[in-house]
Symmetry: D2
Subunit: 139 residues, 4 copies
């Protein structure tokens, strides 16, 4: 399972560009780490919601992928993100975990924390979809 | 109004990094253009949802900002994005427009289109919040 | 298609209880009408968001159902609703329409209008799922 | 705080009509109970998503209200609900709790459980807004 995750993660240009690392992974739950980077700021100098959102989205996708059958690929169908406070800090811890998995839809929750804060500054509710046998879609 | 938008846009590191351009703006509606860039891909080689989402989020934020009082700043409170198809193409047209504006909350809709396709590949429903008199928050 | 919609609608106890009527239907788009009823109010005397939300949810479900294969059933996977103003009025017009239909997921938009107001007081972005061959699930 | 909640709850026609009871309440967290009722079914005979959604929406609203200043009123700005399985059962336990409270926006999570099931069949991410000094809005 971890090998599948790592292979898939290694193919994500965006995660490499953002400097994201996978810090923990188990079936149904993935943790990642995102550094502050002034290439990805919004107009007040905080990390842009789009940069932030891409990480719990990916963590939720991997958490979902980790409980899918080996032949499935995972795509994000939809997510809702609430930004509770600006992404202010040097390093952000991001989690994604499965709430409940059906055959084709897997619902996940993501959270983002700044610099060891115990309260999340962003929360996500995401719907991942398992794709079977689609050419060109792998991982 | 356009001058305020451009000044705010120019402060967004992420928009510069993604190569986003503002292609049209009027009160309550903003259009942007996003090029494909393999630094921002997901694991199947398409643009990552996070890169895609950051643009309608920004377009919606600017559309909301354009109808707010001059002394207000704008922050994204929450958005929901549906990814209807992979972000496959060379250039993506993104729109953000105000559905209804209250005093502190402005609800917007965003859409993303690939290479002249008439059907969006992503749609967003976003809630922007006007912030008044908060130190360090401008634009 | 209309016959399928009507049969399905007639099985919805909640729509009957709320007094909802289908006022228009074509492939991919359904309109409904909801009367004010003080059995379904929230704490300020307006219609409760739950009563309101159930109608664009149903309208979106039917809009999705109208473009699905005949053997499919429809279930709501997820929706996001924004309540832009209180549901103040005597009668509410509600629309649901398909934004884009995939094989198993159909994304729709719903809107709710009070007493001929041109601006919606609620907007919904919904993800409907087609279910095939599940015992006990019909329509 | 409980007295304020009870007074507000007692004014909600919809909660009375649905037969909802408040089963627990503490600052930032509220639990409710919803019985099955065939007046509120969808087309497969399960409880309608609109009936289900109105309860975590209310529970989240009360959880938010419980941490707001005494002079504030609470309104739902937006919520996203995922329906993970049909609402199949005789009685449903619903929770709403505050994730993080700002001055005007309070983000909450809701969950719904059927008949003692440990896994939720519905999850909600909700944004509540505090309203100050608006005529006709109380509780």
């Amino acid at each position: 399972m971890l090998a599948r995750l790592r292979a898939s993660f290694g193919r994500q240009g965006m995660m490499t560009t953002l400097g994201v690392e996978v810090t923990a992974a188990e079936p149904g739950r993935v943790e990642m780490s995102l550094p502050y980077d002034d290439r990805f700021t919004q107009h007040h100098g905080f990390l842009h919601a789009g940069a932030v959102a891409s990480v719990p989205d990916t963590a939720c996708g991997f958490a979902a992928y980790s409980v899918m059958p080996p032949e499935a690929s995972v795509l994000t169908a939809t997510y809702t993100i609430n930004l509770l406070a600006p992404a202010a800090g040097e390093r952000f811890a991001i989690t994604g975990e499965v709430v409940r998995a059906g055959r084709t839809l897997v619902v996940c929750r993501g959270e983002a924390f700044a610099d060891g804060d115990q309260r999340p500054f962003a929360v996500m509710q995401a719907t991942m979809t398992a794709v079977f046998g689609k050419a060109g879609i792998q991982g």
